[in-house]
Amino acid sequence: MIAMTAMVGLGVALYASGRGRDRARGRADFWPLWLMTLGALNALFLSNDLFNVYVAFEILGLAAVGLTALARSLAAIRAAFDYLVAGLTGSLLLLLGVALAYAAAGRVDLDAVAELAQTAQGRVALRLILSGLAVKAALFPLHFWMPAAHSSAAPAASALLSALVVKAALYVALRMSLEGGVAVDPLRAALAVAGSGAMLWGAWNALRAERLKLLVAHSTVAQVGLIALALGVAGTGPLWQAAALLMLSHALAKAAMFLAVGRIAEELGHDRISGLNREELRPGAAEFAFAIAAISLVGLPPTAGFIGKWVLLEGLIEDGAWHWVGLVLAGTALSAAYLARVVARCLRGGPHVAPGARRPAWRAGDVAALGLATAALLLGLASALPFALLEVGIA
């Protein structure tokens, strides 16, 4: 598990350096909130105690709300307020669950989860904790706050929120699932069903989205669904590694995607999908980064997303769980469809571009987006490394 933390920490560091090179447009308020977010994430990943986890979530939630509100438009403030209310509801459920866990098991460290699953009270506590986590991770059908929050924040903030903050809740769910043993199977089944719902619903909305950022935000709903499904079907078996790898690859790819979208919107002056193929502008590095990130999200070789999905599907086929295989494949096809809407419009050239079209200039944001996207690609090529680390984590 420590290795998993280290891997995510690496993602965080990569992101941080990416952001560091990003244009200095962020206001002075951005940096302290950003540091607090990273600190809370590290505290969370290293924690072995449910109450620690709760407090870390409080820091994370407040800082994330701040990051959303930093854009200061009316939509962003409204989305941030919705996010605050949703986050507090999640925290309240989590806190109730932790208190109940204390009443049921007499202690609150994560090792107690297996013990909790034995008693009826403990199961109620676990259910409460899990529903709190589901609100925080924006798992279908509790995702209502998320697309608005992620699409109205500033690009760097959305990248941080979408890539890392929702992962925190998924990570805790993973930890609990691993500690819980066989007794929490009903909860895992619920996770898998909610995950499949999220995958289909998020993809459907992404297909219909008119704005680029909204599409990417709905795609996060779908991807969170995929990861939750992986968690749900994995149990304590080796499949959880697939879930962990999917988390990592989504973190990298989604951060790259949001940064790329920010750059594209900056060049075009808007982020409507229908207006992407403008004649007087050649495709730039940001579009390239978006395409690579899209490949990783869909799960085409040689990206990390592919390896994660491959391991997941292989395990499912071995178990003969064909309905899950079908769902995963359907989700993949849908994500390919909605991402193709964007990528197809970026792949313009030849006669579609006016002769005097200008090329967008290189900016630090392009470098950051491209770097993260390439990292997602390389993680796939060198996927032996995370798997070796995850193996260490088990031992």
Binding site: D29, M36, V55, L96, A104, G106, V124, A125
Partner: protein, 301 residues
């Protein structure tokens, strides 16, 4: 007799909660909420948790009430939002189901808590004899550190986003003599609570809430200085508490090899030092949360 009192407290709390929900105007709701806070604090006293009672009365009822009143004042009267009755019904059913489930689970819970006996066995090593303080600042000091970080984030949010700072009214003739008594008493009581926290109920959070009360009384009468300097000093003091706590954590780590693992024998000194710093810094943070950023700070951006 005591049973009758308990029932009265419970009914009073529920009634105030009901009034807060149905009251037509914001000020009325907030007033009912504050009174409910006092009933809850009384309930904590009856449950044998005076630490929680103090915190609830000072922070839950007092400071939250003040913050809510401030916001209610800015928001103006309630406009009928026209929430359909079905939504009310669903919300009521959900919360009743949740409450019922929790009551059932707690009523039937049988497990022996692991921690109290551990704490009781080792409270002597912690340097203080009040088990609550021992847990908050020694055994689970990491959680407290994170809690302070939560407050710092709130402060950052307010200084980044908060709207206009409130304009203090000029003090009337009766207010000044009142302040001359209340503010020193608040400071004295805060110090008392802080010092007693080692052996009896009390501690940094409660003391800070009292100090905040005094500070707010000063600020609302325009005696705290609305300028840029005060704002900076308050924010710096707010951040200083977390910084000092972190420094103490790292220092203890260097000295003993464990984060927040105080050197044997001198634990009390460490705890008192950290608590004093926390009291000042929490009070500064709460005051600046209430006041909002000063004009000067906002102009910097």
């Amino acid at each position: 007799m005591s049973t009758a009192f308990d029932i009265l407290v419970a009914l009073g709390g529920l009634a105030c909660a009901g009034i807060a929900l149905v009251a037509g105007n914001r000020i009325g709701s907030v007033a009912a909420f504050v009174i409910m806070g006092f009933f809850v604090a009384l309930a904590w006293v009856r449950l044998g948790a005076p630490d929680v009672a103090l915190a609830e009365a000072a922070i839950g009822a007092g400071l939250t009430g003040a913050l809510l009143l401030r916001s209610a004042n800015r928001l103006g009267p309630v406009r009928e939002a026209g929430v359909p009755i079905a939504v009310h019904g669903i919300a009521a059913c959900l919360s009743l189901a949740l409450a019922g489930g929790i009551v059932w689970a707690f009523a039937t819970g049988t497990a022996e808590a692991v921690y109290p006996s551990l704490v009781a066995a080792r409270v002597g090593e912690s340097g203080v004899s009040n088990p609550v303080t021992a847990v908050l600042l020694n055994f689970r000091a990491w959680d407290t550190l994170l809690e302070v970080a939560v407050l710092v984030v709130a402060l950052l949010l307010v200084s980044g986003l908060a709207p206009v700072r409130i304009a203090p009214a000029p003090p009337s003739e009766l207010v000044l003599p009142f302040l001359r008594i209340v503010v020193p008493v608040a400071v004295l009581l805060a110090g008392h609570l802080l010092w007693k926290g080692a052996t009896a109920p009390g501690g940094a959070f409660q003391a800070a809430a009292l100090l905040t009360g005094g500070g707010l009384a000063l600020a609302l009468c325009g005696l705290l200085g609305a300028g840029r300097r005060t704002g900076h000093v308050l924010v710096l003091a707010g951040l200083g508490g977390l910084a000092l706590f972190l420094a103490a954590a790292l220092g203890a780590a260097i000295l003993t090899g464990g984060l927040l693992d105080y050197p044997a024998g001198s634990a009390k000194v460490w705890i008192i030092a950290i608590e004093s710093a926390l009291t000042l810094s929490i009070a500064a943070m709460l005051v600046s949360l209430f006041l909002g950023p000063s004009e000067g700070v906002r102009d910097d951006r």
